[in-house]
């Protein structure tokens, strides 16, 4: 339509109906993103959690890789050389001090690897013992949490999904286990299980890990699944009333399908978070049991047993108690902070 240059009439040409393509162009949808990706994005924004995560990764990697190239081993007593009298100058070295033969080699121009944290009362390099102790503590923490996760998730989801009498029986058993004093049970069970396991593992690779650690795992599996199973049961009780579960049943799904496809994926974030928070508590339990003498077999160190050994020479060599204590605190603290970060990032109830 022709329009006079000074006319105030609205230009009709500007009001053509949009074509299908134009409409398509106007519809904006954000690129598809999974729940997991969103969670990771939120987690990375949380600085405390990210730093904690890197600390855990560094500690874990160094506990795995340092023993591969470190020239000393956790069990070698440096003062003991076959065919010679025991050289007591290697016992109780302070950080970066050397034994007599080593000093002689340095005089001769040789390079000797320093004892970064000194040595213990039997003349073993303390740094590598701390590294091995960390390795044991982390392994106990992770595996114990995985055992707790598997046992707790299986039992909890069965109780929650089946309901009725099965739920009632399982939950009463949980109540009974809850009412037992944890520490006492752990000590009793590791004492009793110790003798049984001793015979069972003779000659296998498990012997090196030690009876006590294995009984510790069993104790974890027997006692600590209860809170996990309660948590999961509660989640599943509310989830199974959702209509999508009914829809799945209307399509002909059975119990196993519904639990694995619908119920567990919907409570997995809660499960991950509580597993992450379970690890430090397992490490803590292992440490105090080792401290009480129920942990790993000598000469294998763990952070708790290192702290316990250090008590004897506390006044003269305080660093031997301080170092493992700091490592335990660092691990437990960063795992807890990371777990909190995970909860903030993944718990849908907090971010709507």
């Amino acid at each position: 339509m022709n329009k006079k240059p000074l006319s105030l009439h609205v230009d009709v040409d500007k009001f053509i109906p949009a074509t299908e393509q134009d409409k398509e162009y106007m519809v904006q949808m954000r690129p598809p993103s999974t729940f997991f990706k969103d969670g990771v994005k939120r987690l990375l924004k949380n600085k405390v959690a990210t730093v904690s995560f890197f600390i855990i990764v560094i500690i874990a990697l160094s506990s795995i890789f340092i023993p591969m190239f470190w020239p000393y081993s956790y069990e070698t007593q440096l003062g003991v050389v076959p065919g010679k009298p025991v050289d007591s100058s290697y016992n109780n070295l302070k950080p970066f001090e050397y034994g007599e033969t080593e000093l002689a080699r340095i005089e001769a121009g040789e390079k000797v690897f320093p004892h970064v944290f000194g040595t213990d009362s039997s003349g073993r390099d303390y740094f590598i013992r701390v590294v091995y102790g960390t390795r044991i503590s982390l392994a106990v923490g992770f595996f114990a949490s995985i055992i707790v996760l598997i046992v707790g998730m299986t039992i909890g989801s069965i109780a929650g999904y089946c309901g009725g009498k099965i739920d009632l029986i399982i939950m009463r058993i949980v109540d009974i286990i809850y009412s037992l004093p944890d520490t006492l049970m752990v000590i009793l069970l590791s004492a009793v299980l110790g003798t049984v396991i001793d015979k069972a593992i003779q000659g296998t690779i498990l012997e090196k890990i030690g009876t006590n650690i294995i009984s510790l795992f069993i104790v974890f599996a027997l006692l600590y699944w209860v809170s996990m199973s309660r948590l999961i049961r509660g989640q599943i009780l509310s989830l199974r009333e959702q209509e999508y579960v009914l829809a799945s049943r209307a399509a002909g799904a059975k119990g196993k399908w519904i639990i694995t496809k619908h119920l567990i994926p919907n409570c997995i974030s809660v499960v991950i978070i509580s597993t992450a928070l379970q690890i430090p508590s397992a490490i803590f339990t292992e440490s105090y049991l080792s401290f009480l003498g129920l942990g790993v077999n000598a000469p294998m160190p763990s952070l708790g047993s290192l702290a316990s050994d250090a008590l004897n020479g506390l006044a003269s060599y305080p660093s031997r108690l301080v170092i493992p204590a700091i490592v335990i605190s660092l691990i437990v603290l960063s795992l807890n902070l990371f777990g909190d970060g995970l909860r903030d990032a993944f718990d849908p109830k907090l971010n709507g």
Binding site: M29, R30, Q242, Y244, L246, A247, A250, G252, A253, N266
Partner: protein
């Protein structure tokens, strides 16, 4: 029942569903959610089921699909009695359901294609991945969804689109019969019209049979061939859609239909509303005899003695009331 020239696809005979509700520590009492309901649904027709909240409409739909185990009664599908677990499994491929709430009926952790493909996965109804994907895309285009929506999650869609996903899921196994459990009551009015019309189009294209549960009487009238009215777990009236709107016979249906809002204010003023006194009794303590007698203006002693029989008063028009002739 109405033995028309149409063949009955679904026959429900004396269906009862009681839930045990515990009262006190050890005693339990039956809640009669559905009490002695019988009806048939012919091939290709839509049966509307109306009634107020808590009258057992949804329970009828769910018990019909064996999602709740019926307390007693028989369900016949296409001339066969559904009784053994194997029957039920076969039946699930023929009869599906669309749910009321498009928000809670879709798993938030699954993509659209997984939600729609779930019934296919359960019944293993495809040879390979490609066939599954093709079927899902076909279903999505049936209900008016874009193929690029397949990899998205349900929370990214509006209520109407979510309900379309739910409908595509119900269509996945190529059913003959769909229970629509208030499929539009959670949607906006403008979206309701689209979805209702889509139900109509799908019925024509695929030859579907519906049991359409709803409390919106206008929606039900629009889509149904026949309409059943329920009150307190009982069916009180069943007739052709036009018949029941023009000549409701049961006093409850009359009152229910007088409550339908009319867009024209002049007509609305002229219409007399029948307002019932009192509240709906608890289904735990249902009145003896006719369940409606406590609120019925025409109730007599006879109504308290025994449940009135559900009988045919004119062709295809069933009513459960002793006083039908007197009232009308």
């Amino acid at each position: 029942m109405s033995e028309n020239n149409n063949k009955a696809l679904i026959e429900v005979k004396n269906l009862k569903k009681y839930f045990d509700i515990s009262v006190g520590l050890f005693r339990s009492k039956p809640l009669k959610a559905v009490d002695d309901v019988s009806f048939t649904i012919n091939k290709g027709e839509t049966l509307g089921l109306v009634g107020e909240s808590g009258c057992g409409k949804t329970t009828v739909g769910r018990t019909l699909l064996n999602l709740y185990k019926p307390t007693s009664g028989e369900i016949w599908y296409d001339g066969k009695l559904i009784s053994t677990p194997a029957d039920i499994r076969e039946f699930r491929k023929k009869a599906t359901m669309v749910f009321q709430d498009p928000y809670s009926s879709l798993n938030p952790r699954m993509t659209v294609s997984d939600i729609i493909g779930e019934p296919l996965d359960i019944h293993k109804m495809y040879e390979n991945k490609q066939e599954r994907e093709d079927r899902i895309l076909e279903l999505m285009s049936h209900v008016g969804l874009n193929s690029e929506h397949a990899s998205r999650y349900a929370h990214e869609f509006s209520g109407g689109q979510r309900q379309r996903i739910g409908i595509a899921r119900a269509l996945a196994v190529n059913p003959d019969f769909i229970v629509c459990d208030e499929p539009v009551s959670a949607l906006d009015v403008s979206i309701q019209a689209q979805v209702i019309n889509m139900f109509g189009e799908l019925q024509e294209q695929l030859g579907l049979t519906y049991l359409f549960v709803a409390h919106d009487l206008l929606v039900v009238r629009h889509i149904s061939n026949r309409i059943a009215v329920m009150y307190l777990g009982r069916m009180v009236e069943l007739a052709e859609a036009g018949e029941i709107y023009d000549h409701p016979l049961h006093p409850y249906s009359q009152s229910l239909l007088s409550a339908v809002p009319v867009p024209d204010p002049k007509v609305a003023r002229a219409n007399k509303r029948i307002v019932l006194s009192g509240d709906i009794p608890s289904p735990l303590n249902a009145p003896s005899g006719c369940p409606f007698r406590t609120r019925c203006p025409h109730a007599t002693e006879q109504c308290a003695m025994e449940m009135p029989p559900f009988k045919e008063v004119s062709k295809g028009h069933f009513v459960a009331c002793y006083k039908v002739d007197e009232i009308n």
